[in-house]
Structures are given as structure tokens and as C-alpha cells.
Amino acid sequence: MEWIPPMELDPARAVPAPRVPEPAPPPPPFEAEPDAAMPEAEFIPPVAGPAPRSPLLRWLVGAVALLILVAVGFDTADLMNRAFATSMALGVVVALVAGVAGITTIALLLRELRSLKRLRRIEELRGESRKLSHTMELGRADRFAGALTRLYTDRPDLELDLARLKDVVTDAHDDAEVVRLIDREVLTGLDRRAYQTVLRASRDTALATALSPAALLDIAVVLWRNLRLVREIATLYGARPGYVGSLRLLRRMLGNIAVAGVTESAHHVAVDALGGSLAAAISTRVGQGVINGLLTARIGLAAMHTCRPVPFTPDTRPSLGRIRAELLSLPKQVL
């Protein structure tokens, strides 16, 4: 770079260097870069997007959906005709009901789409923050912090944290420092709450499995509880997923859970198994409860990993330890 000699400039023309949070300009599109360039600092292998489906399958699904839509349309039209033929009043009522059904369907779809977009946004933020934590440059973190602040604008529970973040960040911090500050000031509190949620959910599933009379029932309970857990955690971190969104999250996490083992070492897995079998010796049902609880806990922690806008560092990573202790004391509580 060419050398510019030192000089004094007109103070009137100087603008403060951009700071956090920005007054919300239109969000610049984050380039969603592949994680290939990242060093092995991440502990969970970056989640792969949904596998590309074969175009044939897509055509099939599309065609069937269209058929069903047309059939439903025909049937509705038929129904309305018949209702009008019977009486004017009945016809109007049926038309109204059909209209409401149509509008709500569209609204639901829009909401799902919006929630999917929020999910994608968090993923982009994760990618960005991972990049920023390795640079000592300036300027891009402002955008990142701005985007994050916007994500949490309508959250009264985070107002204090965001205000503190604004206080703490100065123009002297570089990008990595800003990301670390966001991590410490805003996300640590969320982590604590998310961990409590996971703890509660895993206890719930463990108890439900232990106490449920029929096997089918506890499968249903566990599935429902896990889905709810994932939604709760995603909502906490600002993703607010709809049904499709949480299913997608759940599916991606199930794909991840084997690898993740929520990043615990093989030693801990062995302890889980041992603890499980010990409990199973006491009571099969309680043993199953503990195992289901641990599964839920793993799903919950994986959800935390997936939904957090800034990836965990080795120090902040949540551990299964406390949940495991809690669950293994369950047989004592139940018996």
C-alpha cells in the first residue's frame, strides 16, 4: 500500500467510526460461505443442509400436491354449489368457512416461511461469527452486532443485556473482541436458561417413560416433548421456528447427534451406558426412563449448539454432566 504521510485533517468532516448497534440499515446479505475454509476450531462438524433430493421425487411430490389441491378445490366448489342449491343462507355460511380456511392456510404458510428464514439467518450469523473470531480486523463485526441486535430487538428479556453490550463495546475493539463480548454479555444468560430448559425436559421424559403404562404412549410422549424442547430452545435463541422449522431442526439434529454425542468423550458415553444398565438392573422401566432422559438431554444440547448465533467455545460449552447426575438420581426418587 502506498505511504500516506501523517497529517492533520479537518475535524468538521470526520465521522465517528461505526459502532454497535447500528441504526438498522437494511440487512446486508451475508455471503453464506461453506465452512471448508475454517480451521478445526469447531467441535461439532458443521451441520450439512438437507440432502439434495432427486428431481424425480420433487416432481412426484409437486404433482401429488397439485392433484390434492385441485381435488380439494373441486370438492369445495361442489359443496358450495350444493349448499347454495339447498338454501342461500347455508351457501353463504359454507363460502365463509371455506374462505376462512383458505386464508388461514395461507397465513400459516407465510408464518412457516418467515420462521424458516429466521432459522437460516441464525445459521448465517454462526458462519459469520466463526469467521470473525479468527480475524483481528475491524468493521465487519459492527454489521454482525447490528444484525444480532436486530434479531433480538423485540425481546424485553434481553433489553438489559443489549444495553450493557452497547455500553461496553467501544471503537477500540476489533472484530474478534466484539464477537467475544456479544458471547459474554448477551448469550451467556441465554445459555443458562436454555440449559435449565433442557434439564427440565429430560427430567420430564425420564419420568414419563418410567411411569407410562404402555410402550406406545411413552414413544408419543417422548417425541412430543423433544419436539417441544427443540422449539423452546430455538425460540430462546431467537429462531422462533414454526412446525416445519422445528421438524427440520430435529431432523438435522438427529443426523448430528451421533457425531456430536454432544461432544463428550467416549469415556462419558461409557459412563452413560453403565449408569443406564445399573439403573436397568433396578427397574427396566426406570432404566428406560433414564436412557430416554439422556437422549432428550442430548437432543436439547444439540439444539443449543445448532441455534446459538455464536458457536460455543471450549469454555462455554454446556456439558451433560449435571443432567446425567440429575437423571441417575431419578431411580432413587421414583422407587
Binding site: 492533520e8 485533517l9 467510526a17 477500540a172
Partner: protein
């Protein structure tokens, strides 16, 4: 029952007192690096704890409070924290007078321990932080402990003959060539030599070329030793001479200086330190050009010498330093735009690189950082001939109105020496901000919290 309760309380209290940890933090710096401001800012920020997001104990909400306490060593002057703070935060803010000599301040920090085990022992823990502020020249004296008079003389003479010192030491070297080291030990002659040598050291210190190696340190900061025979010697050329010669006189005074000044400082202060921060005015050296940087690099290497003591011989083991973390901080980072901080750190890294490896080998941790104890400027962006420049805005010393300054881009690390040769910089001194500390959150700073986390973080777990 109540008797038992009070007994338990007593026991708990006693145990708590035993569990109080003491940590001694040495603050030193080469030549006008900002020791006083650093210490003042550290104390003020710890007392108010409003601007320390990177200090874990504060960020996690475990910090309770800190307050000043009477210092343990009654014979060391107290660091005049209140006066310095008053000068900085006055209506007409100014920089505090640079201190000479050693001073000390004790700060007690109360916090809740992090680990569950320690929490069951004591819900609130206390760390007594003793900040010991001493001139960097005293640190540079420590390598003398291992050098004989002949060795020291050879090194000093060689240094004095090198540019840019050769011009400053002309008078003294003229005197050297005129006398005979093997001549009789005339007190007059010795005084004359010491006076010329002291003049040369003062000139080095004042010089535009920003020279850092000043040895022996008490020659320029004599304190209560002014005119004592201890300070009337200077390096002499040649071999060891017999008894009754000037050489022998100088040698005996050199040895006396070593044993009653340097070794005393080492045993009474330096060897008791747990942590050390060395402040360095890298920007000042850059301002002065390449000779300043080179001299600073040598001074830094010398200052690291004492940390190597740890494991070489039983005497060193007895007196050896127990410092296990050393921080080298390039101060006045607010004199450049924040985008330049990585480059500043890079230069510092390259200055201490070699010595750093040695210290690491001895088992101490070393860290470098670019910081500002008191943040006087804001980074601003401005246009100049179609290019966007990151500049700094602040009120320069001696003016009333803020200005926007573009001080020049700093080269990054490795090629600093070569690039600095043909560039000129203009780092201006700025006045403390008018509203410093008015919001009650502590003085504004750059990375002071990260420095504290490195220096004290493990004590506050």
C-alpha cells in the same frame, strides 16, 4: 447453642483469613511509558468495576467490591493514587507528574469463588493485590548481578561507541582516553569520570533518538543516594589492575553498588513479585526512528534477563524470582486508529520474540498487548483525496480544540525495522478527555481489562 454458633463463626472467619491470597503485581516501564497512569487507571477501574467486560470475575457477576487498604511494607512510599486521579479528572485535565523511585499500593478485592468446593469453604474470598511501581531502569540493573566489573565495562564501552550514542558520549570517552586506569585512586578523578558518565546517561534519556538502555539506573534516578560514593564510578577499559589503582577503586564501588543497591532491590522487591507488567512506549520509539527501536529491543532483552534466574544454581534458587506471568504492553495505543492495533502488537511481538521463547522455556507465561491506560481519542473516519482514512480525534496537549490526526500507517511486525527507516511518523500527545470518569464507571481505557485478566484472572477464579 449460641456459644457453639459463635465458635463456628469464629472458626470460619479465621479460616477465611488464612484463605486470603496475596498477589504482588510489579508495574514497570521503560522511559515515560506511562507507569503512573497505568497504575492509576488499574486501581480506579478495579474500584469502580464498570468498564471491565473482559475480566471474568466482573463479567460473570462474581465480583463484589474492591477497596484500598493499608499497604504491608511500611518503608516503601505509598502510590499517590488520589492525587494522580484528581489531576486526570480535574476540570482542566492534565497528566500526572512522572514518579521517580518505587511506590506501592494495596487493594483488597472481594469476590465469590467460581468452584463449588471453594464456595462451601468460604462464600466470599479476598485477594490482596499489592501494586509495586518501580522505574524500568532498576529492572535494567538486574543483569549487572551476573556481570563482573570488567564484563560490564566492556559491554558498556562497546554500546557507547555505537551510533547514535557515540555523539552523546564524546566528552566521557575523551576523558577515558586521557586517564590511565592503572593510575592512583584519586577521588577527584573518579568523581569527574562519574559526572561525565552520568551526563552521558542523562543525554541518552533526553535524546531525540529515544534510547532505552540506561545503566546503572540510579545514576539518573539517585533518590537518597545522590552524591554517595556508591554512585561515583564508571566503566573503564582494559584488564583488571592491581590494588590502589583507579581501576580497583571503581571496581570496588561497582561491587558495592551491586550488593547494596541492586541486590537489595532484587531481594526486597523484585523476588517477591508474582506478576510483572512491562510497559513500553513503542510509538515513541517509532517516532524516533530505527535507532530507537533497536535500542529498545536490546533493553527489552536485558530486562528479561532477571526472569531467567529461576532455575540456574542454588543461589538463584534461593533468591530467584517467582514471577510466573509477564505482560509486555505497548502503551498509548489510543494514539493510533484502532485498525492499527494489530500492527502495534506485531511490532512488540517482534521486539520481544527471542526473549519470549527463553522465558517460556523457564515456565512463565508471556503475553503481549497493545493497550491504552486512559483512552484520550476516538477513532473517526474521514475522506482525503478520495480515500477513506481511519484517524483519531482528540485534544492535543497544549491546545484547546480537538483535532483529527492521521499519524501514518504502522508497518506490521517483521519488517518494522526496515520500513521505519524511511518513514516519519507523527504521534502527538493528547490531553486526557475532559469527562474522564465522570460517569462513575472508571476511567475509559483500551484493553486494560484483558491485561488484568491475564495478570490476575487465575487469582480471581
Amino acid at each position: 447453642m449460641s456459644f457453639l454458633d459463635s465458635l463456628f463463626d469464629q472458626a470460619g472467619e479465621t479460616a477465611g483469613r488464612f484463605l486470603e491470597a496475596d498477589v504482588r503485581l510489579g508495574v514497570t516501564g521503560l522511559r515515560r511509558a506511562g507507569k503512573t497512569v497505568f497504575t492509576t487507571a488499574v486501581v480506579d477501574n478495579l474500584l469502580r468495576a464498570g468498564r471491565l467486560p473482559f475480566l471474568d470475575v466482573v463479567a460473570s457477576g462474581r465480583f463484589q467490591a474492591a477497596r484500598l487498604r493499608p499497604q504491608p511494607d511500611a518503608d516503601v512510599p505509598r502510590f499517590a493514587f488520589e492525587e494522580h486521579l484528581a489531576t486526570i479528572t480535574a476540570a482542566q485535565p492534565d497528566w500526572p507528574e512522572p514518579t521517580t523511585g518505587i511506590s506501592q499500593l494495596r487493594l483488597a478485592i472481594r469476590y465469590r469463588p467460581n468452584s463449588a468446593l471453594r464456595r462451601t469453604l468460604q462464600s466470599v474470598a479476598t485477594v490482596n493485590l499489592d501494586i509495586v511501581d518501580y522505574p524500568g531502569e532498576w529492572l535494567l540493573d538486574l543483569p549487572m548481578l551476573r556481570q563482573s566489573f570488567a564484563e560490564w565495562s566492556a559491554l558498556s564501552l562497546e554500546l557507547a561507541a555505537r551510533s547514535p550514542r557515540d555523539a552523546l558520549s564524546v566528552d566521557w570517552r575523551g576523558w577515558l582516553s586521557a586517564i590511565d586506569p592503572a593510575g592512583p585512586d584519586e577521588e577527584e578523578e573518579a568523581r569527574r569520570g562519574a559526572a561525565l558518565y552520568t551526563e552521558y546517561l542523562h543525554a541518552c534519556r533526553r535524546a531525540e533518538s529515544f534510547l532505552s538502555i540506561i545503566q546503572p539506573g540510579r545514576f539518573v534516578e539517585p533518590g537518597d543516594l545522590k552524591d554517595a560514593p556508591l554512585l561515583t564510578f564508571c566503566p573503564l577499559p582494559g584488564e583488571r589492575r592491581g590494588r590502589g589503582t583507579l581501576w580497583a577503586l571503581m571496581e570496588s564501588r561497582y561491587e558495592a553498588y551491586k550488593s547494596s543497591v541492586v541486590r537489595r532491590f532484587f531481594a526486597e522487591h523484585f523476588a517477591r513479585l508474582n506478576r510483572q507488567v512491562v510497559l513500553i512506549d513503542v510509538l515513541g520509539a517509532l517516532n524516533a526512528g530505527v535507532s530507537g527501536l533497536g535500542d529498545m529491543k536490546r533493553a527489552l532483552e536485558m530486562s528479561l534477563e532477571p526472569f531467567r534466574h529461576g532455575s540456574s544454581g542454588w543461589l538463584d534458587w534461593l533468591f530467584g524470582s517467582k514471577i510466573d506471568r509477564v505482560l509486555f504492553a505497548a502503551t498509548k495505543a489510543d494514539h493510533i486508529a484502532s485498525s492499527q492495533h494489530p500492527n502495534l502488537k506485531g511490532i512488540l511481538d517482534s521486539l520481544v520474540a527471542e526473549a519470549r521463547r527463553t522465558i517460556r522455556f523457564e515456565g512463565a507465561q508471556v503475553e503481549t498487548m497493545a493497550l491504552a491506560s486512559l483512552k484520550c481519542t476516538e477513532t473517526v473516519v474521514t475522506e482525503h483525496e478520495g480515500r477513506t482514512l481511519r484517524c483519531i480525534q482528540g485534544v492535543p496537549v497544549g491546545r484547546d480544540r480537538p483535532t483529527v490526526l492521521y499519524p501514518g500507517e504502522i508497518p506490521d511486525g517483521a519488517d518494522a525495522m526496515t520500513v521505519a527507516r524511511n518513514r516519519s511518523y507523527r504521534f502527538m500527545p493528547f490531553r486526557p478527555p475532559a469527562d474522564a470518569g465522570r460517569d462513575g464507571r472508571g476511567l475509559p481505557h483500551v484493553r486494560l481489562d484483558q491485561a488484568l485478566q491475564f495478570l490476575l484472572g487465575d487469582y480471581l477464579e
